[in-house]
Subunit: 358 residues, 2 copies
């Protein structure tokens, strides 16, 4: 049942954006064929995949036909409707599995899962009403951030509350969605670990990357991160604990805050992660291939880093003149083939090689 997929097997990917695209290329390199399920037009992944199914995630007959035609299903984003997953699970294995998805889809479940594991997170409080919010502010203090429990990404679905009289407006701004109040964390830097776990329970972690955001969107990831050896080890160990606790199969991104009190887990993403794109030019086996190896039941590859890298996201018009970007000869350029560049839209990224591994 858990035999490795043979070359030529078909992998279904829910979502046809850039992550699905880079997964599809990695899968092809290993001899697999990808079927992309995506409701939008002209998905970036469609240009490098064996097949594209254009349908809504709630079009259950289309979902069933998709699942019937592949050997395993994975995804590039975590907010997949429950009904969709329920159906697919009756037909084919979904990797990573529901436990990990459930823990990452809801900020409250995520924080409870992490704290139950003994890991530190920002102080938080579930908020179902304006009264709850007042209590939460009393307990956690200000400034704090009010976040929707579900469907947040790239800084969306978040409002900062600096003073007590901003609370009501913040609550209204999130339009009655279930929310959580989180303490602002006083951190010196944000790092993330890309970890992978295979079907036989082997865990590998890539070296932590240090992340800088602009306007709520990841701007750069730098490896090595400015971390002591002890913190690097701590980061890998806690990632391994998360992966093992979820009986996880695949690649996960774990975002961490570095504070005076140690490492604090900000968020887990049950998928390949923007902060792991540097692995494409810094390692022999990148995060995309690692994910495909894991869900195919293959052994994981070496996560060793051969170079120091700075990954820079290309947002909006940043990628409008790619030939000029290519003028930096030591830069690996990765463009997503999106036809329209919009403000704030991720169009590609560049991995600049700084030196051999330091």
């Amino acid at each position: 049942m858990n035999k490795p997929l043979p070359s030529g097997a078909r992998i279904g990917i829910l979502g046809g954006g850039q992550l699905g695209r880079m997964l599809s290329v990695a899968a092809a390199r290993l001899g697999f064929q990808c079927h992309i399920f995506e409701p939008g037009d002209s998905p970036p992944a469609g240009l490098v995949a064996a097949k594209v199914i254009k349908a809504d995630y709630l079009d259950l007959p289309a979902v069933a036909a998709f699942a019937e035609n592949v050997d395993v299903v994975t995804f590039e984003f975590e907010n997949i409707p429950t009904e969709t997953l329920d159906l697919i699970e009756t037909l084919k294995p979904v990797r990573p599995g529901r436990t990990a998805l459930a823990a990452s889809q809801d900020r409250v479940l995520e924080k409870r899962f992490l704290t139950d594991l003994g890991l530190a997170t920002a102080a938080f409080s579930v908020v179902d009403s304006l009264d709850d919010l007042q209590d939460a502010i009393d307990r956690i203090g200000l400034p704090a951030i009010l976040k929707t429990r579900r469907f947040g990404y790239d800084g969306k679905g978040q409002v900062r509350i600096g003073k007590p009289d901003e609370a009501e407006a913040a609550f209204q701004a999130l339009k009655g969605a279930p929310v959580i109040l989180e303490a602002m964390v006083d951190f010196s830097r944000e790092v993330s670990v890309i970890g992978a776990r295979s079907m036989d329970g082997t865990v590998i972690c890539y070296d932590p990357g240090e992340n800088v955001h602009r306007n709520g969107i990841l701007h750069t990831t730098t490896v090595p991160a400015n971390l002591g050896l002890g913190q690097q080890t701590d980061a890998a160990i806690l990632t391994g604990r998360i992966l093992n606790a979820l009986d996880y199969v695949g690649v996960m991104g774990v975002e961490l805050f570095v504070t005076d009190q140690g490492l604090l887990v900000n968020e887990i993403a049950p998928r390949v992660h923007n902060s792991g794109h540097w692995t494409q030019n810094g390692c022999v086996i990148d995060q995309f291939e690692q994910h495909i190896r894991a869900i195919a039941g293959w052994p994981l590859g070496d996560g060793a880093r051969h170079s120091d890298v700075v990954m820079t996201n290309l947002i909006g018009s940043d990628a409008d003149d790619p030939a000029t970007l290519a003028g930096d000869a030591s830069a690996g350029i990765h463009l997503y083939g999106k036809t329209e560049s919009r403000e704030g839209r991720k169009m590609g990224h560049i991995n600049r090689i700084i030196s051999a591994k330091s």
Copy 2:
């Protein structure tokens, strides 16, 4: 006219085998879309390309439609019919151009081009009749190799002549095709250089790789090759001279024999080359991306090597159990998605990382 292609431009590739497949993936990474022209069924490149045109190379209306729909045309093999190229050239730029193709399609023209440049090759003689062959043997000596002037690959179209009385049978075996007699070269090793030249005339060469063949097919390429620094420099310089003399645009493979008298050019291939596959896991910019950059009018990337690599071809049944191959964690695995494994057929390759660059 020679402006760099913008992201999203379409690149036409003649040939849908593994080289076309890896070119297509590299092009996608830079945001281009590939159209693959291939007469055979289920071409490996078709699974990672935006479009596949299945037609014969001499189906000129299909060729014209293909060319109309792309911005530039390149190829993965050199034996393209003249009529096909004549037609495409009236519609779209073909890179690399006809001069290079002409020089590589015919072993006699190739050797004359090289010797005119002052480069050493094996002694050779044009053979149009059995009488010519006797004269050639008298001049060159035995053992020698009788080769078809055109359409040879992987040791096909070649017969070794060890003794005078084998001459007639060798001549008959090649069925009246135009042939050339080449002296056997007493070489200590075979190396190859993968060179690239951009539209503005910049040349970069990857480090030479050392090739070992089995049954006439490339078995391994090892970098670094066992060459002195002077020979490494000579190899790069002569490759640059070849590229410049042809006003070449794209990647070329140059096969060299290392002899007591110095380097001797065995063959040039006006395309990405099997002995350059190691660059996928040994360099930030691999030969496939380098070729796409060149034909797109983009600047070339850095050809620097970060690791020592042994590339091993997976022939026939070698790739039947890929998950076991993946058990070598430091090996980059590349499978071509061919549905049927046949004896002698190239199914994939493995790049084993030996160490950081030595």
